[in-house]
């Protein structure tokens, strides 16, 4: 029996627990513990689903769903699960660096290398990307008054490809090891000559699956925004979050391609003996650096632009005011999107281009700072003339304005080749990009969860625990990363598992304290979810508008019905729903209802995800039969689906009418709440607009709502 044919390169020593048995150490114990957690987590999930009898609803209502709202929620669930892993990895690395002075420490160099590689890969590809994608999925179709995205099934397939990539990274905890090449995986170190084991292959296929998913998402969202806007929703009436979604989608379409090309070329080097990026034989690793950052720089704007959209919605809503400089914000967003493709070379000023080339790219990088600075001041001016309420989301926003502008300053510093020569590859750089991504993207997503959660689930999140999480996250971030600027200037390199310089110790201790605070913030956020679910009765806001919202998503029930809008809205202005509330035209019954077509659930997407995961696993371990079989099955599913004709079901007009009229009746019957009562149990989701001066016009508005056309 030739076991190699069956199991490829997997041996019993490939399993993480073998290392513990053969070579016991604390580092191996931690690795085994992580592997055990992954296995036990999977087993616990299976038991829970079985005991609760949730298998059927999970499959029927969620995994096979093509509803953009459910797809969006699943994306965010994936992001949060992966975030839990990657943030623990970050804390482990901090603890190692603090304890490693002069040969101490508890992690092996190899284990540490895997940690920083998985941390970066997961945080970018399987936390930040799914988080923004999930949010855009949920909110954007509601904001443009659409019933779904243009290609609902493609949307589900994008999700399942991303899940497949994330699963592969999780499997690497148990079977084999991950890459040590960092999230950017520079060859030739990641080539077959210097990394002969399966680690880099895990990275290649996980990232490839994620990037293909993101490409499809970008296409899907761009088409949706171009084609699916409701009547009257011209481009310059779209909410800013939708604008940033559009720009991000365009970036995804163009930026993911070079990454996919680079990973496939690296795979050809490793599997088929090609020489794209090898040391000799005509290979050129600089080509990889260009391709990777041709993706990598737009990628950071892919991450930050949706967060900018979130900040725009949050600051306008919690200031009860129109956004300042809407047009200039739109143009600034577009400027950033275009310029993001013109600065990739600043990631390798140290590669030996001529000074002129470096200077041009440095200046281009600074130019991006202009629209970004304009946006920051636009948000500040939005607060001027408003009535600011310091909700959790708004606290995150204020923290963002102050810390992001400091990150911008270090970004401008890094744009200078002369400075970059000194701090490139040091903790200064690490501090800079965490300074942009944590207060900008991650906290932006946390604010978005606080903001849109009641829309998605029909009840608000517990405000006290939200604030507690903020007061851990914000100082935690400052402590964890601002010392790293100083460490970097003192010459502490990134990706280093031990130093022998005693001057670093106090700063590393501060950073460790910050990491602990960030973990505490995450614990409070988890507690917030649990407590909120338990108290969902008193936090309920089914009437859909708990924050005195401004765009269309707040005009429908929470959670929204499968068809989103009973009748497609007709828009005449920006902030359409807010204007309607002010005029007293909100919540009017439509003249009539029609049948609505909604896509049927289908097993296509989860099957493709499953086979894609098996295909990638087969490739990682050279299990050729599995790789070939899975690849054939993927396309078999696609072809089988192409013969399906009955892919939509009709919701009769009577059903839509009954549901919508019941909602409208409930809204009309509910007493509106002012912003003073926003965080009380009285807030069921019917807001009295702030601009009606605390209820002066509320009666008029209420009276208007009784009118049916």
């Amino acid at each position: 029996m030739n076991w190699e044919l069956v199991f490829g390169q997997i041996k019993w020593t490939s399993f993480v627990f073998a290392g513990m048995i053969e070579n016991p150490s604390l580092s191996e114990a931690i690795a085994s513990g992580a592997g055990s957690l992954a296995v036990l987590g999977a087993i616990a999930t299976v038991i829970l689903l079985t005991v609760k009898g949730w298998w059927v609803p999970l499959w029927r209502d969620w995994l096979t769903s093509v509803d953009h709202k459910r797809v969006g929620i699943m994306y965010i669930v994936v992001a949060l699960i992966m975030f839990a892993r990657a943030v623990i990895e970050a804390a482990l690395m901090r603890a190692q660096q603090l304890s490693a002075y002069d040969g101490g420490g508890f992690l092996s160099a190899d284990h540490f290398g895997q940690l920083f590689s998985t941390h970066g890969t997961i945080m970018i590809f399987f936390v930040a990307m799914p988080f923004i994608t999930g949010l855009m999925n949920y909110v954007m179709p509601l904001q443009i008054g659409a019933r779904d995205v243009s290609f609902p099934l493609l949307n589900a397939i994008s999700l399942m490809l991303t899940v497949a990539g994330a699963m592969l990274v999780m499997v690497s905890l148990v079977v084999g090891r991950f890459s040590t090449g960092g999230w950017s995986a520079y060859p030739p170190f990641t080539g077959i000559e210097f990394s002969p084991d399966e680690g880099v292959d895990y990275w290649i296929w996980a990232v490839s699956l994620g990037s293909i998913g993101s490409t499809l998402t970008g296409l899907n969202f761009a088409v949706t925004i171009y084609k699916k806007r409701c009547p009257g929703m011209s481009l310059f009436r779209m909410p800013l979050f939708t604008w940033t979604t559009l720009c991000t989608s365009i970036l995804m379409i163009f930026a993911m391609a070079p990454l996919t090309a680079a990973t496939i070329m690296l795979a050809l080097d490793r599997y088929a003996g090609f020489h794209f990026f090898t040391n000799g034989d005509g290979g050129n690793m600089m080509n990889y650096a260009n391709l990777f950052w041709l993706f990598g720089h737009p990628e950071v704007y892919i991450l930050i632009l949706p967060a900018f959209g979130v900040w725009s919605e949050v600051v306008a809503t919690y200031s009860s005011k129109r956004i300042y400089g809407y047009t200039s914000l739109v143009y600034a967003t577009m400027c950033i999107a275009v310029l993001s493709f013109a600065v990739w070379l600043h990631h390798f000023f140290t590669m030996g281009q001529s000074a002129n080339v470096n200077a041009i790219f440095g200046i281009a990088t600074m130019i991006i700072g202009v629209p970004t600075g304009v946006k920051v001041y636009d948000w500040l001016l939005t607060m001027v003339g408003g009535r600011i309420r310091l909700s959790t989301a708004m606290l995150f926003h204020i923290n963002f304005l102050l810390t992001f502008i400091l990150g911008g300053m270090t970004g401008v510093l890094l744009a200078n080749p002369g400075v970059d020569f000194q701090v490139h590859n040091t903790l200064f750089l690490v501090a800079h990009f965490h300074n942009m991504i944590i207060p900008g993207v991650l906290f932006g997503m946390f604010a978005a969860v606080q903001f849109w959660f009641p829309k998605a689930f029909g009840f608000r999140l517990h405000e006290g625990l939200g604030r507690a999480s903020f007061w851990c996250f914000a100082p935690g971030f400052l402590l964890a990363f601002f010392p790293l600027y100083w460490l970097g200037m003192m010459g502490a390199t990134r990706r280093t598992f031990e130093w022998s310089n005693p001057d670093y110790l106090p700063w590393l201790a501060l950073a460790m304290l910050g990491a602990a605070l960030i973990l505490a913030g995450f614990a409070f956020m988890t507690a917030q979810f649990i407590v909120s679910v338990r108290r969902r009765e008193e936090l309920a806001a089914p009437l859909g508008d708990p924050w005195d919202g401004r765009a269309l998503e707040w005009s429908i029930p929470s959670p929204p019905p499968a068809w989103n809008f009973a009748v497609l809205p007709q828009v005449t202005a920006r902030d359409a729903f807010y204007e309607a509330k002010k005029d007293g035209t909100a919540y009017r019954s439509p003249a009539g209802y029609e049948d609505i077509e909604v896509p049927r659930n289908t097993a296509t997407a989860p099957l493709i995800g499953l086979f894609a995961c098996a295909w990638a696993f087969g490739l990682v371990w050279h299990i050729w039969w599995l790789a070939i079989l899975s690849f054939v099955l993927i396309w078999a599913v696609v072809i089988a689906r192409s013969f399906a004709t009955d892919t939509e079901e009709t919701v009769p007009a009577a059903t839509v009418r009954a549901a919508n009229e019941a909602f409208l009746a409930a809204v009309r019957a509910a007493p509106g709440v002012t912003r003073d009562q926003e965080m009380t149990a009285a807030n069921r989701g019917r807001a009295i607009p702030e601009s009606l001066e605390g209820g002066a016009g509320a009666l008029a508005a209420g009276a208007a709502m009784e009118v049916t056309r």
């Binding site: 590669m351 001529s354 000074a355 920051v376 002369g418 400075v419 490139h424 390199t493």
Partner: protein, 315 residues
């Protein structure tokens, strides 16, 4: 391991980075850091002053008048676009000047000391063509004399830095990069690789020992007396990954070894003319930088590097 231990090493070479420059290049870099930071305060300080004021004045129940429909003002708009644009013009000018002046390829004077650097897995090899000696993990330099480092790699991509003297530059197999610097004080400075390259990465540092010119000459003369020689076989013995505990000094090395190392990865990159020279520029004669960024050079055959460099045009 061939060769003899070098002079006894002081344990704690200063690692304060470019905050304590020991040469004009690093000094220029930290000065530029200060300039840019000061200029950036123009956009940062207003935010830190205005945001608390706005939050206080326009809080719910505050004194600010409520204007829910106010959304634009031409004066403010010109301010928030104009100030950053003006700032970027100032910053960009400073950047351009500093980048040209601090170009690592620009020789810093006549008659530089040439040191050829080979990055290996987890150590650095230094060849002194003028002195005919070689060292492992010890970079000896004379004070106040321009130094031209020519770098390549015998393994993966690495990034070479001596923070107190100059910034970093990548070392890549089959290619040559350059770093020019001057040390203007004596002492031991730590240098290291900053590009992750495996298990020994954390310990891949070396001592840069700057001496007075007389001391340097004496050092070179004593190094010449070392019996160890760095020939092809000795070099091959260095290729496997290892961490070097003590620096090694070789009394002699095979001439042309550096070019041979590059040629072993990329035949034709050294010693002859590349198959496709880049189009002559108006400001010729000018040596191309080793990894050529010009689009007119074919990717697989970047033009080779001659053994002298003239300053970039326009400097």
């Amino acid at each position: 391991m061939a060769g003899l231990p070098a002079l006894a090493m002081p344990c704690a070479a200063s690692a304060a980075g470019f905050l304590e420059p020991a040469g004009p290049i690093a000094a220029g870099q930290i000065a530029h850091f200060g300039t840019i930071s000061a200029l950036m305060l123009i956009v940062i300080v207003p935010m830190f002053i205005a945001l608390p004021l706005v939050l206080w004045r326009y809080r719910r129940g505050g004194k600010g008048s409520y204007r829910p429909d106010w959304e634009f003002n031409w004066g403010l708009e010109l301010l928030i676009w104009g100030v950053p644009v003006a700032l970027v013009v100032a910053l960009g000018t400073a950047l351009w000047r500093q980048t040209i002046a601090g170009d690592p390829y620009r020789p810093l004077g006549p008659d530089p000391l040439v040191v050829e650097v080979v990055a290996l897995d987890w150590k650095f090899l230094f060849l002194y063509p003028e002195q005919g000696v070689a060292t492992l993990d010890l970079l000896a330099l004379p004070e106040d004399r321009p130094v031209t480092l020519k770098l390549t790699s015998g393994t993966v991509m690495q990034s070479f830095i001596v923070p107190r003297l100059a910034g970093q530059i990548y070392a890549m197999a089959g290619m040559q990069t350059q770093l020019n610097l001057i040390a203007d004080e004596t002492g031991d400075f730590t240098g290291r690789n900053t590009q992750y390259n495996g298990l020994g990465f954390a310990t891949q540092s070396f001592t840069t020992r700057v001496m007075t010119p007389d001391d340097f000459d004496a050092w070179a003369a004593s190094a010449k007396t070392q019996a160890a020689t760095l020939d092809a076989r000795a070099y091959a013995a260095l290729l496997p990954s290892s961490v070097v505990s003590e620096p090694v000094i070789y009394g002699s090395f095979t001439p042309g070894l550096f070019d041979q190392i590059i040629a072993s990865f990329a035949p034709g990159m050294t010693g002859g003319h590349a198959a496709h020279a880049p189009q002559a520029r108006n400001d010729a004669p000018q040596a191309a930088h080793a990894p050529q960024a010009d689009t007119d050079a074919p990717a697989a055959a970047a033009p080779h590097q001659h053994h002298q460099t003239t300053p970039e045009a326009g400097q």
